[in-house]
């Protein structure tokens, strides 16, 4: 078979056929887990879901150059695909959404979508948006102070790009050329408010210039384009040349969350055509044209993903719920009197002591 330009594209980036298929597999796994959790939400098993559908291409590609167990990530609430790429398992993700005792992120203490995982170098996330960007910069500062070869990436939406903490973080990283990759996943909507009501000038990447770092705009549905930008950013960081801001223009295929209905504020024709912007079929086509993906391989991968998602959700559901007796624990790393210790009260109406 003749070499096509597409085939050249991934090999020129140093990616093998196996690696691009593995990227494709991660995207499908993220989508499969995501879709399964919507079903579980509809079935009343999961209280809430905030989706990453449409972001998978950018997330897998940008997390791909990061070294597992070495590099760090401060995620945001759509980070299903990137946390999977960083090493979390599908079962970890579903277990967290079910708020089970064994949830690696929080032991059932946080809402779904609040990713974190100490074994994976994924720092715990809260709900007020943008706070995690400072944590990423702090981790990078720690590595810089210690002279460690560690890169930290963080993700946030274009709405969050307006938070002062994000600007403080980018400025500080720029001043000291800290090894950070700032990833803005711009899906055009901050819940309901569109980009032109959120970002003056319309470009998050343009803001990088003010902080002395490159600001790169990538098509977030172009997996290899995202990978190329992330690889360069990762190498820059490791060379000591400082941070990069990558603005990935992605598509939000779902409503903001399971508590939202995007038909209230998005044009019906826009909603109708969202699927055409889906990064997964686009990457599949690219891999087919490159001669990497065939029907047989695709079917095999999809069957494998389906089985993995089934197993993950089955195992997660079988895990025990948290217990009230444990709710006072781990308030302080070193327990103190009056903090994190139960005040002995008689249970009221069958409830546990508070």
């Amino acid at each position: 078979m003749a070499t096509t330009p597409m085939r050249l594209r991934h090999t020129e980036l140093g990616l093998s056929n196996e690696q691009v298929l593995d990227m494709y597999r991660h995207m499908l796994l993220a989508r499969g887990v995501d879709e399964r959790m919507w079903l579980m939400q509809r079935a009343g098993k999961i209280a809430f879901i905030i989706s990453g559908q449409g972001h998978e291409g950018a997330q897998v590609a940008i997390a791909w150059p990061m070294r597992r167990g070495i590099d760090w990530m401060a995620p945001f609430y759509r980070s299903i695909a990137s946390t999977l790429t960083f090493g979390m398992s599908a079962e970890d993700i579903v277990t967290a959404h079910l708020a089970k005792r064994d949830d690696v992120s929080s032991g059932g203490r946080q809402m779904p979508g609040h990713y974190g995982g100490a074994p994976y170098n994924i720092v715990s996330l809260s709900s007020p948006v943008g706070t995690q960007v400072l944590h990423a910069v702090g981790i990078a500062m720690g590595a810089w102070v210690r002279g460690d070869d560690v890169v930290t990436m963080t993700q946030f939406g274009e709405g969050t790009s307006n938070q002062g903490e994000v600007h403080e973080a980018m400025n500080f990283a720029g001043v000291h050329r800290l090894p950070v990759i700032f990833v803005c996943e711009n899906n055009g909507y901050a819940i309901s408010v569109p980009l032109d009501r959120q970002v003056a000038g319309g470009s998050v990447a343009a803001r990088a210039a003010g902080y002395g770092m490159p600001g790169i705009v990538v098509d977030g549905s172009d997996v290899l384009g995202c990978y190329a930008a992330a690889k360069e950013a990762h190498e820059r960081a490791r060379r000591g040349e400082g941070p990069t801001l990558i603005e990935a223009r992605v598509v939000r295929l779902t409503s903001h969350s399971s508590d939202d209905d995007q038909r209230r504020y998005r044009d019906p024709s826009e909603v109708e055509h969202l699927k055409e912007l889906d990064p997964i079929p686009r990457f599949a086509n690219e891999l087919r044209e490159a001669g990497v993906l065939t029907d047989e391989i695709d079917e095999a991968i999809r069957a494998e993903i389906k089985a993995a998602v089934n197993e993950a959700s089955r195992n997660a559901e079988a895990r025990p719920d948290p217990v009230v007796d444990d709710a006072h624990e781990r308030v302080y790393a070193e327990p103190i009197p009056g903090g994190g210790t139960p005040v002995p009260l008689e249970p009221i109406d069958g409830e546990g002591a508070h």
Binding site: Q110, F172, A333, P337
Partner: protein, 328 residues
């Protein structure tokens, strides 16, 4: 035993901890070459270099948030708020992130870090360089809050705070920085967090205080003894959270009377927690109303010296309140 003032004690603690543990770093505004606006980090930049003694941009939120990230990474950061009054841009990070990290991650992450908070009035700093804002933080679960009143405690408690596995807000009263020198034990002397100090024993009433109020309360106690024959016990809480309940209650059980003193305003202040706890747990021992003496209910310390003098809680007011309480 070296004779040090409080700012020297603070500096000495940081210097020794940086010497013994290379994970310890300092970050804040002007902490580098200048050595901090109060001189607390003087000399550390030259000794440990610009990475471990890091001048940050003017962004308190970043100072706190990046310190948390560094703590997560494995460092032991000491973040300096130039004035406690400037902490509010960092409030989100301290109250919502740093305090909750351990609990929300089910104990898998923690934030061993110190935030130094130069606080307090009487320094001609007006509304925005005089605040005693400890109550915002003492009411936040997940934080420890320390407020020393002597050079020895400043040094020993700061060492303990730096080594503590949890986030500690360390309140240093600015007026005490160079107010007096006192003996500080040589060598690696750590004062444990969570232990109050009975600064003066007495039998007629207990005065609970911290920070600069220790000095004021001790002076008041001497006046009371001399002029009234009233022997006041002065309990320097030293740590506000966790509160040393055993020492507090033991003192009330002995004297039957409690006067809680702080410079911050009264309503919802830290004294309310101390007073309520005494009322709940030592009711049978009380022989007078649990009394609070606190700063006035105005939004801050006003500037002109007559106004500032009006604001400040000092020995004379403590004597006045103590006499009323002692008369019961």
């Amino acid at each position: 035993m070296a004779e040090l003032n409080i700012v020297e004690a603070v500096r000495s603690a940081m210097d020794e901890e940086m010497e013994r543990d290379e994970r310890v770093m300092v970050l804040g505004e002007d902490v580098g070459k200048k050595g901090g606006v109060f001189g607390a980090t003087d000399g550390l930049f030259a000794k440990y270099g610009e990475r471990r003694v890091l001048d940050t941009p003017l962004t308190e939120g970043m100072i706190a948030g990046a310190a948390m990230g560094a703590a997560v990474y494995g460092l032991r950061p000491i973040a300096e708020m130039q004035f406690a009054d400037f902490v509010y841009p960092a409030f989100n990070q301290i109250v919502s992130e740093i305090s909750r990290l351990h609990y929300r991650s089910n104990g898998t992450f923690s934030a061993p870090m110190v935030i130094r908070m130069p606080y307090g009035g009487g320094v001609h700093g007006a509304l925005y360089h005089s605040q005693s804002n400890e109550a915002y933080f003492t009411s936040t679960v997940g934080l420890k809050v320390v407020a020393p009143g002597t050079p020895a405690d400043a040094k020993g408690l700061l060492k303990a705070s730096i080594r503590d596995p949890d986030p500690v807000l360390f309140f240093e009263h600015k007026k005490t920085y160079r107010l007096f020198k006192a003996a500080v034990p040589d060598g690696d002397t750590v004062v444990p967090i969570g232990k109050a100090d009975v600064a003066r024993t007495g039998k007629h009433l207990s005065i609970f205080c911290y920070g600069f109020m220790r000095t004021c309360a001790l002076e008041a106690a001497e006046t009371l003894a001399r002029e009234d024959g009233v022997e006041a016990e002065v309990v320097d809480l030293r740590t506000l959270r966790p509160l040393d309940l055993d020492t507090v209650l033991a003192s009330v059980e002995k004297t039957g009377k409690a006067l809680v003193v702080h410079e911050a305003n009264r309503f919802g202040g830290f004294g309310a927690e101390v007073a309520a706890t005494i009322a709940e747990k030592a009711f049978e021992f009380l022989d007078g109303p649990v009394t609070r003496l606190a700063g006035p209910e105005v939004p801050g310390v006003p500037f002109h010296h007559t106004l500032e003098d009006w604001y400040m809680v000092g020995p004379a007011r403590i004597v006045h309140e103590a006499r009323k309480l002692a008369a019961y």
